[in-house]
Amino acid sequence: MSALRRLAPMILGVIVLAAWEGGVRLLAIPAFVLPPPSAVVAALLADPDTLGLSLWFTLTVTLQAFALAVAGGVALAILFTRSPLLASALYPYAVILQVTPVMAIAPLLLVWVGYERVDLAQLILAWIVAFFPILGNTTLGLRSADAGLRDLFRLYGASKWQVLWRLELPSALPYLLAGMKISGGLALIGAVVAEFVAGSGTGSGLAWRIVDASNRLNTPRMFAALALLSLLGIALFAVLSLVQRLALRRWHDSEAGHP
C-alpha cells in the first residue's frame, strides 16, 4: 500500500503523458498549439547546451537570491525580536514589499539597474519575493519559544546570546524551514518574472528562452524550457524538504512521526 502510494504520482504522470501524446496525435493538433511530449523531449535534446546554460543561469540567480533571503530574513527577524521599536518601524515596509506584485516592481527596477544588468534585477526581485516568508516565519518562531523554558533560562541567568542561540533559534527552526520551502519556490518565480519583464534579449535564463521561443512560435522549445523550470522548482522543493526532514526527524512532531 505504501509503495503504491509512493508510486501513485509517477503512475498518474505516465498516464497523463500517454493520454497527451495519444490525444495530440489522434486529433492532429498542430505542434505550435500543443506539441506532444515526444516533441518536447526532442526539442530538449536538440539544443541541450543552450538550455543547460540557461538552466544553470536561472539556478544560480535563484540560489543566490534564496541565500540572501535566508540570511537577511533571519538577521532581520532577530533584530525584530530584540527591538520592538525597530520591528514597529520596519515591519509595515516589509509588508508593503510583500504585497506589491513583483510584476509591478520589475519594470521600475529594470530602469534603475539598467537593462544591461538583468541578472542584478533578477537577483533583487527574487530576493524581494523570497525574503518575506523567511522574515515572517522566523519572527514567529523566535517568539514561539516555550514560556517555561524562557523562565528556566532566566532562572539560570542566561545571557541574551545564550537565550538566542540555545533557545530561540532552535525553537524557530521548524518555522524557518517551513518558510524556506515557500521561499525557495518564490525565489525561482522572482528570477523568472524579472527576465520576462526585461524581455530585451539580454537575459540568458530559462525565462528568456521561453520568451524567445514564443516569439518564434517554437512551442515545443517553450515547453522544454518550461519543463526545466518545473524540474528546477521540484528539485528545490525536494532538497528543502529533505533538509527539513533531516533537521527535525528526531524531535519535531511534524517529521518525527513519518517512516
Binding site: D146, G148, L149, D151, L152, F153, R154, L155, Y156, G157, A158, Q162, R166, L167, P170, L173, R250, W251, H252, D253, A256
Partner: protein
Amino acid sequence: MGQGPAPSLETPFLELRGISKRYPNGTLALTDISMTVGEGEFLAIVGASGCGKSTILRHVAGLVTPSAGDIRWSRAPAAGGIGMVFQEPTLMPWARIQDNVRLPLDLAKVPRAAADARVTALLAQVGLADFAQAYPRELSGGMKMRASIARALVTRPRLLLMDEPFAALDEITRQKLNDDLLALWGEQRFTVLFVTHSVYEGVYLASRAIVMAPRPGRIHADIPLDLPYPRDEALRTDARYAAACRQVSLALADAMRSPSHPSGETAA
C-alpha cells in the same frame, strides 16, 4: 537511599514578608503572604487552582517582582542555587536528555568534562542512565519528569521549587516519583517548596503544609506535619497520615469557604 529527619525552623532559610502581587489588569493575585522556610525543610503549598501557589514560587525564583513586600534570604542563593521543576517537564525537544540535564551547567559555563560527569551521575540517580542519548519525545511522561528533576538538581541547588510537577502523571508513577524525590531530598538535604493541589501528596512528602485561600491568594493555614521520616508506602495506610490528610483537607475546605477579598477580582 534514606530520608533524614525533618528539619526545624530554627535555621530560617528564606522569609517572605508581606508579599502582594497585583497584575497590570488589576487582578490581585496574592495578598500579604508572609512565611518562613527553614533550611532543608520540605514545605508543601496546597490549594485549589488559581489561588496563587505558583505565583509564590515565581516570586521566590525571582521571575516575578512583588507589588509589595520582600523576600529575605539567610544567604542569597548564588547562580544555580535555585532549581525549578514545572508542571510540564519543560525540556528542550531538540536536545538529547543528557544535553537537557546539562543545560544549567552549560549556561554557567561549567567545563564540559565536569558537567558531563555530574550529568551522568545524576541521570543514574534518577534512573535514566540508559536514556541519556534519547530525545524527550522518546520518553514517557514520568521519565520526562525525572529528566526535569535531574536538570533542576544538576547545579546542586540549595532550594528546589516544584510547581505541581506530578499533576499530569498517573497515580502509580506519581507515587513512585514521590518516593524517589524523598530519597533525593534525604540524600542531598536541599530545601523544597512543593506546590500541589493534592492534599494526599502534600502530606506524604512535606514536613509542613501551607494551605492557600483563593481570590486573592493568601495563606489560610500553616500546618506542621508531624509524621516521621523516612516515609514509604506503609505511611499511606497509617492512621497518623490519614489524620494529617483530614486536618489539611478540612483547612482547605475552610479556605474555599472563606470570603473572597473584593479586590481579588478586579482593579480597586
